[in-house]
């Protein structure tokens, strides 16, 4: 039994964790939250220099050609540090879309730039309130031009291109397009969100020039495939964040005195934190399962991804809200850092399909698996 990261992967974790401790304290998160910048460009440059954006991109496209296990390690540490970066959009979503469905020419054009961090990609599926489905899509496209509005698009205000999902009369009801966002027929507007440390935009396409990614009428299957893969990476970020929330709660409980003793001595607080630990541990073990399935391209990836995703959503939400509760009134202030994991936990839990969506995916995948 070797259900564990390798020594090299653990070294990478130490390196990533040390780097982020030095360069991505909560002060950095707060700077983006309070300021006008959409992300921390200085940190992004360093992350790119370390090769993190190139992790799983094959060497023939100027990537590092490492496995998804390495990317999971990086995701966990980025989540732990609450990094204000467009990493998930560019790496887990846009890069994955090209790796999964890109033609040779498309890969040659985009992947080296994604690897070097000279461009940032994003994914545009949602079109406003509620779950997006092929039936609800109003964005339309013909052979080379695309029109419609997408919101919210994570990192849409700063990305160079988007992977856009548009309605299609044939196949599964959707097609996928690569759209350069730096063209005159594209306009963007930054949105106010529950987590200003991660930027979001509304993007309007008015006959924007677009290039088909994958086959026409296979867009929805592609989106689900990308989401299954990204769900594992998101889950690692979520578990990293949940562990941060537990650490914050523990540190505060040990130092805060009430009725003449540390509140960490009260069982009401101990059981709350023990509960966080239990949920985080189960979620992390399911992330291992997801990491294994993603890195080996296992047929049970849909089950493993949904399992990791549901567990991570629940663990992070629980840890982040109970962290505020443990801090009492101070946890509710702008001055304290408790707001960061609370904001981020909800953001991460809704931006590639929410808890009920993934619970349903899980049961459907189990039914399909058992029927097969």
């Amino acid at each position: 039994m070797n259900f564990e990261f390798s020594e090299e992967q653990n070294l990478l974790r130490e390196q990533a964790s040390g780097f982020l401790k030095d360069h991505c304290s909560t002060k950095v998160v707060r700077k983006i939250l309070d300021g006008d910048e959409s992300y921390d460009q200085e940190l992004w440059t360093k992350v790119v220099e370390m090769g993190w954006t190139a992790t799983v991109i094959p060497e023939e496209y100027d990537g590092l050609g490492m496995s998804y296990l390495e990317l999971c390690v990086i995701a966990e540490e980025l989540g732990r540090s609450l990094a204000p970066l467009p990493f998930s959009s560019s790496v887990y979503l846009a890069t994955e879309a090209l790796l999964v469905a890109g033609s040779k020419e498309q890969k040659e054009e985009w992947l080296p730039k994604l690897a070097s961090g000279s461009i940032i990609g994003c994914l545009a599926a949602g079109e406003g309130k509620g779950q997006v489905t092929p039936k609800s899509l109003t964005t339309s496209a013909d052979a080379s031009s695309l029109s419609g509005s997408k919101l919210p698009v994570a990192d849409g205000d700063i990305a160079d291109f988007a992977v856009v999902f548009a309605a299609c009369d044939s196949g599964d009801g959707a097609s996928t397009y690569l759209v350069d966002l730096n063209q005159s027929s594209v306009s963007r507007q930054k949105l106010d969100t529950i987590d200003p440390s991660r930027s979001h935009a509304k993007i309007d396409f008015a006959g924007a020039s677009a290039e088909l990614l994958g086959k026409e009428g296979e867009g929805w299957a592609l989106l689900n495939n990308i989401y299954d893969r990204a769900a594992v990476l998101f889950a690692w970020e979520q578990v990293g964040g949940a562990e941060t929330a537990l650490e914050m709660a523990k540190d505060y409980a040990m130092g805060r005195f009430a009725f003449g003793r540390p509140i960490a001595t009260y069982q009401a607080i101990k059981h709350k934190l023990a509960n966080m630990y239990v949920k985080n541990t189960l979620a992390k073990s399911n992330c291992y399962y997801g990491a294994w399935a993603l890195s080996t391209n296992a047929p049970e990836l849909p089950i493993a991804a949904a399992t990791a995703r549901v567990g991570a959503i629940q663990a992070y939400y629980f840890a982040s809200k109970e962290n505020i509760q443990t801090h009492g009134g101070m946890g509710f202030t702008w001055e304290f850092d408790c707001q960061f994991p609370y904001r981020r936990s909800k953001l991460l839990s809704i931006n590639i399909g929410s808890e009920p969506v993934w619970q349903e995916k899980l049961i459907k995948a189990i039914e399909t698996g058992r029927a097969a």
Binding site: M1, F3, E4, T265, S285, Q314, W358, L362
Partner: protein, 404 residues
């Protein structure tokens, strides 16, 4: 990252599997044997072939195997679903490690091989009516009389006391000392005069536990483990092994059984599995069950590398026991009024859901209540401080025991 055995592990697994296939007692061999006799037959056979007590040193009748080898043998053996295996769990898992840590070499030579071979069965007598979660509050007295001690009092929740040959016991030998300091640890012959054992009937209908009354029972001072007043430290050896022995708990209701039920039973004339609420609940249980499974795999990986598993190991019972209860309760809801029927002929899965529903409260209490397990996670894993103890430093005899 993979789920495969190393080459050595695979070779060991094959050896174990082959030996089990050739040696597990057949139905004919067990014909006419009671539970206990069947358990002893199998244990002796393992012992004679060097497959008993795998982790123990060879000179004590064990195999001197590694932790992962013991796990592999356990995995292969559990495929035969021999329920009688539980007979030796306490003696092997808790009493023997305590003896090996605290008894004399001579005593270990006398007792450990017979534990390994199953010829002698042991039980553990810690809990008392006034000492459950607060274990050190036990009151059964041990009074020195020459080279012997005289025991008077009552123990409770003792598994297997009615068939045990020997037992370990913690006694209050100095009521004037503070709670943890007045205790002393012994082992004794369960057939000693003055011991009376009564089974306790549980709400599940079973009787797995006993209460034991001691009236002027004599035990030799040579059967004391550790110093007089050192009983708590010795007891901790036993308890640490208890926690190591508690896994995620197999058997009972699981995702598979509730999923199957939901496919075969209707809500509003449609299969329950098509109901969104049912699907969401099932998804959550799948996620929890999967989390426990892969947490176990992480621990096994540590063992496989020759390391001690991390603290993630400690959550199995805390998660597993309430989950069993909730899933059984939900299955009974799906069964509607028929869920009340507990009859192997008439009930779904031969009464599995009813049996689990009625057994589950015990799982949340035995071996540390949910609340105590949560304290353990908070204190031992997260490093949070203990609660303030109002009985600290006070002579045991002056600690309040009831409202007056």
């Amino acid at each position: 990252m993979d789920f495969e055995d190393t080459a050595e592990e695979a070779a060991f697994r094959k050896e174990a599997r082959d030996w089990l296939a050739a040696n597990v007692p057949t139905k004919e061999e067990k014909e006419g044997l009671d539970f206990l006799a069947a358990a002893k037959l199998w244990q002796k056979r393992k012992y004679d072939a060097g497959w008993a007590a795998l982790r123990w040193p060879k000179e004590h009748g064990g195999r001197g195997a590694t932790a992962i080898e013991a796990v592999i043998f356990g995995q292969e053996e559990s495929k035969y679903q021999m329920v009688e295996l539980g007979v030796f769990a306490i003696g092997h898992g808790m009493c023997a490690p305590t003896m090996m840590a605290w008894a004399t070499e001579e005593q270990n030579k006398r007792f450990i091989p017979k534990l390994a071979s199953g010829e002698e069965i042991w039980c553990q007598m810690f809990s008392e009516p006034a000492g459950g979660s607060d274990l050190a509050a036990l009151r059964t007295r041990g009074e020195k009389d020459g080279d012997e001690w005289i025991i008077n009092g009552q123990k409770i929740w003792t598994s297997g006391a009615h068939y045990a040959d020997w037992g370990v016991i913690v006694l209050r030998t100095d009521p004037s000392a503070p709670k943890h300091q007045g205790l002393t640890y012994f082992f004794l012959d369960m057939k000693s005069p003055g011991i009376e054992i009564k089974p306790i009937k549980q709400i599940s209908g079973g009787a797995n536990f006993n209460e034991i009354y001691f009236t002027d029972v004599r035990v030799s001072d040579s059967q004391r483990l550790g110093e007089v007043g050192q009983g708590w430290q010795v007891a901790l050896t036993t308890l640490m092994n208890e926690r190591a022995a508690i896994g995620s708990g197999g058997g009972g209701v699981n995702f598979k059984s509730v999923f199957k039920l939901a496919q075969n039973i209707n809500i509003d004339d449609e299969p329950a599995i098509s109901d969104k609420t049912v699907r969401r609940k099932l998804a959550d249980w799948y996620v929890t069950e999967s989390g426990l499974k892969y947490t176990g795999y992480r621990s096994l990986s540590a063992l496989s590398r020759g390391e001690i598993p991390g603290p993630e190991n400690s959550i199995g019972k805390l998660v597993g026991a309430p989950k069993q209860q909730d899933m059984a309760s939900f299955a009974l809801d799906l069964l509607e009024s028929s869920g009340a029927i507990w009859d192997p002929e008439l009930s779904a899965e031969a009464g599995l859901f009813q049996a689990t529903y009625m057994a589950a409260p015990g799982g949340r209490i035995a071996g540390g209540t949910d609340e105590i397990m949560a304290n353990i996670v908070a204190e031992r894993v997260l490093g949070m401080p203990q609660d303030i103890r109002v009985d600290k430093g006070i002579p045991f005899s002056e600690i309040p025991t009831a409202n007056s």
